[in-house]
């Protein structure tokens, strides 16, 4: 009887737990401050979800392979300064290039992908642990951000690239009906990644690589290729988030997205994806992202000071990882 109860309790897995928390949190904030449920606030939440969510999709892929990507925040900023810089319409811009919106997006994403590709190569070929490899890349990419920004805006070094562009405005501020464009982009990307992970052999291989790399090799899976692909795709997704951030502000800052990688990891871990790899889903990450977005906006609205917000986020992350360990124990027992 006791065991049955335990089992049924565990059946409420981490995803469901987060979903339940999410509902209660939403109700709680609404009761405390009715304007939390206003269309303005909901719009904010959806935008936050899109910004964090797209990058977190990428982070999910990386974490499923058993790796991590600490360079995500820097790649976001890099994608932003490249995209904004190539427009050539920045105030006090010094660069001679002036490309249309679509071309800047494409080039920014190619560069983002390249950073991810390099991450993957360093991890698979030089056999450097993902933590260290991407830590190095975090610094390198941030350095590149300053180099790019400095060559575009030749004023005070480290100053942001500020511009006007309809394409970016649509991406970062536009709406279709009542729904922010960026949220639509998020939903589309979410569906693509979901189908990729569940219905393609490459997607399934990501789980295998994270679960047991030796088994994966024995099953004929080209594990190095999978890892490189994963980091590349992840960085492209992160790059898209970077462009959305730029679009939202009409400005690409050199200090943008600093430390964001930790929020992405938090969203993934909250969603029940094992930080050891091999287990998890993007549905969990969607819930984790929604959780963070509601929490951020809610705490802002009820006027909790930002340093308390850090504290609360940290505690929640510990909770999420504990839940993961608890789940693992069940496996050992059976």
């Amino acid at each position: 009887m006791k065991i049955n109860l335990r089992k049924s309790l565990i059946c409420i897995n981490q995803q469901k737990l987060i979903a339940i928390f999410l509902v209660f949190m939403f109700l709680g904030f609404t009761l405390a401050k009715p304007e939390f449920a206003s269309s303005y606030s909901i719009n904010n939440i959806l935008c936050t979800m899109a910004l964090y969510g797209i990058a977190s999709l990428g982070m999910t892929l990386v974490i499923l392979t058993g790796g991590t990507d600490l360079s995500a925040g820097s790649v976001m900023a890099l994608s932003g300064v490249i995209g904004a810089g190539l427009l050539g319409k920045a105030f006090s811009a010094a660069n001679p290039v002036s490309l249309p919106f679509a071309a800047t997006v494409l080039i920014a994403l190619i560069f983002s992908g390249l950073i991810g590709y390099l991450n993957g190569i360093v991890i698979t070929k030089l056999k450097i642990a993902p933590f260290v490899a991407t830590l190095a890349m975090m610094s390198i990419a941030r350095g590149l951000v300053y180099v790019v920004a400095d060559s575009v805006v030749q004023g005070v070094s480290g100053s942001p690239i500020t511009f006007m562009n309809d394409g970016y405005s649509l991406l970062g501020q536009g709406k279709i009906g009542a729904v922010p464009v960026q949220f639509i982009v998020y939903v589309i990307l979410f569906l693509i990644v979901f189908v990729f992970l569940k219905y393609t052999r490459t997607g399934r291989s990501i789980y295998t690589v994270g679960g047991n790399i030796d088994t994966a090799k024995l099953a004929g899976i080209k594990t190095n290729k999978i890892i490189v692909l994963t980091y590349t795709v992840s960085s492209i997704l992160v790059g898209i988030s970077g462009l959305i951030l730029v679009g939202r502000l009409s400005s690409a800052s050199t200090v943008a997205a600093k430390g964001y990688e930790l929020d992405f990891i938090t969203a993934v871990a909250l969603g029940g994806t094992s930080v050891a790899g091999g287990r998890g889903s993007v549905i969990g990450t969607l819930l984790g992202t929604a959780f963070l977005a509601v929490l951020n906006n809610g705490l802002d609205i009820v006027n909790v000071k930002s340093f308390y917000q850090y504290l609360i986020k940290g505690l929640i992350l510990v909770f999420a990882v504990c839940a993961d360990l608890f789940m693992n124990k069940r496996v050992k027992k059976s």
Partner: protein, 508 residues
């Protein structure tokens, strides 16, 4: 039986730098037979199988599958030819479903390139039926028992249309009932025409399930024969090359006074009112079924688990043991059942493992005396005849028997006087087993006391001076050497002869 020879390996040789791993070995498997490949660790079995699987390339010799010569064997070719290996350590992914594990990397796809999960589950179901495993293909492998995971591995092999399945020590992690079931499945596969190459140290099982055996020794082909025509003794002789009439050498040590006395010991969850003693120069066996509390008893005495009641005396003095480090200070040592995880630090070398429990004694002027450490390690390496290139070799690279010797070295180095050895010869091959027994005998001759926990009845009866039998956390019987019999021990172990109060008093 079909007399088709499905696999023939002729004059296979393979050398590694400095070692001739295989010299002109022949190996032949008929369709639909279970063929045992026998040999001690290091005899060349795994090298031969790795050549078959395409993981190694042979230096010399030919491989024929269905009479056709195969020139270049690589893992992919081997798989296409229907050769599948089930390794000792299963390779299932715990968090993926049964079906996905079966079709790992080969999931059926629809015409649009996406995975067809419906077909994947249906095909899995059909394959699982062939091995009689009744689980939903959507179940996570983590939720299966070990024996069921093994069936999933076999199913995986079948899904690749395997004609030759290699099973490496398949029964090691299984209970008797699960072994019976595995044998049913093997017999069934035989009927379906699948050939099985069976590697095991459990010779009795080989008598039961196999049709023929091929024996290797030191990389050489010794012979091939029908199982029906040989006894277990014959097999041992072929494997070790000498007649082991004395599998269990006797110690003939002088049995002295009581050293460890345990009175009314209980723990919170398992052990109830346990009393016994160990004498100097004695090997005390502890028998019992899995789950009887033998390992728990060892852990409690050694201070690894807390005691709720009872007293422990060492040489007549009551002692308090709250942690393993207390036990070590009373000169006790524990050789655990799970050698690789609890007995050794696999990534450290022989020297570091040897001195692990006695580092304090190597401290001179506040720092470790490395020279002394190396000297002592070398002494034990030679004394216990550990076969290794040197004391700086990682223990991970040693065979099971040699690893066990390193664990013993560790306790001898710590100047231990009472050793608790849990399953001393698990996963160790026949020749090395005898060496471990001889070592234990030598130790008791030197005045040590040994508590030996074992699930192997012949071993207990062969080596021990006295046997205690446990059942559900209590001691149900005690037998002196002249009263040893398998039937009595089994009866006690099954709890059929509850001990009377009088018996208990006698033991105290």
């Amino acid at each position: 039986m079909n007399e088709n020879i499905i696999l023939r390996m002729n004059n296979i040789s393979k050398s590694f730098p400095g070692v001739k791993a295989l010299q002109k070995v022949n190996f032949e498997v008929k369709q639909g037979e279970v063929h045992a490949l026998l040999g001690e660790n290091g005899a060349g079995k795994s090298t031969l199988l790795k050549i078959l699987a395409g993981a190694y390339t042979k230096d010399e010799g030919e491989i024929y599958i269905n009479g056709k010569i195969i020139e270049n064997m690589d893992p992919k070719t081997a798989e296409e030819l229907g050769i599948s290996i089930i390794y000792q350590e299963f390779s299932c992914l715990p968090y993926l479903s049964v079906a996905e594990n079966i079709f790992l990397g080969r999931q059926p796809r629809k015409s649009n390139g996406l995975i067809d999960w419906k077909k994947c589950y249906e095909d899995s179901k059909k394959l699982l039926d062939r091995v009689g495993l009744k689980v939903d293909p959507k179940t996570l492998v983590a939720d299966l028992k070990v024996a069921e995971q093994q069936m999933v591995e076999i199913t995986k092999a079948l899904s690749k249309n395997a004609h030759i399945i290699v099973m490496d020590e398949p029964t090691a992690p299984l209970t008797q009932r699960e072994i019976d079931n595995l044998f049913l499945v093997i017999k069934d596969l035989k009927k379906q025409g699948v050939s099985i190459i069976y590697v095991s140290h459990r010779l009795v099982e080989i008598k039961e399930i196999c049709n023929r055996i091929t024996v290797l020794r030191d990389g050489c082909y010794i012979g091939e024969t029908e199982v029906a025509s040989v006894t277990v003794q014959d097999m041992i002789r072929m494997m070790v090359g000498r007649n082991l009439t004395d599998m269990f050498p006797r110690s003939n040590a002088e049995i002295g006074g009581k050293m460890l006395e345990v009175d009314h010991l209980s723990t919170a969850d398992k052990l109830k009112d346990i009393s016994f003693h160990v004498r100097r120069g004695e090997i005390l066996g502890i028998a019992g079924l899995v789950g009887a509390g033998r390992t728990e008893l060892a852990r409690a005495v050694f201070g690894a688990d807390p005691i709720s009641e009872g007293t422990i005396r060492m040489n007549g003095e009551v002692i308090k043991i709250n942690s393993p480090s207390d036990a070590i200070s009373y000169r006790m040592g524990l050789v655990p059942e799970d050698r690789k995880r609890q007995g050794l630090i696999l990534r450290m070398n022989v020297k570091d493992n040897t001195t692990l429990a006695s580092l304090k004694s190597f401290i001179r002027l506040g720092k470790l005396n490395l020279f002394e450490e190396e000297k002592i390690s070398l002494t034990y390496m030679n004394k216990l005849k550990v076969v290794t290139p040197g004391i700086f070799e990682k223990v991970n690279n040693l065979s099971g028997g040699n690893q066990q010797k390193v664990v013993l070295s560790k306790w001898l180095c710590a100047n231990c006087s009472l050793l608790i050895i849990d399953e001393p010869t698990r996963g160790i091959d026949v020749g090395a087993k005898v060496e471990i027994y001889e070592l234990m005998n030598e130790l008791v001759r030197g005045g040590l006391g040994i508590i030996m926990i074992s699930s192997e009845m012949p071993e207990l009866m062969g080596v021990c001076d006295r046997i205690l039998v446990m059942h559900e956390g209590t001691i149900t019987g005690e037998l002196m050497r002249d009263k040893f019999s398998e039937e009595t021990i089994m009866a006690f172990a099954a709890g059929q002869h509850p001990e009377t109060e009088e018996d208990k008093n006698v033991r105290r």
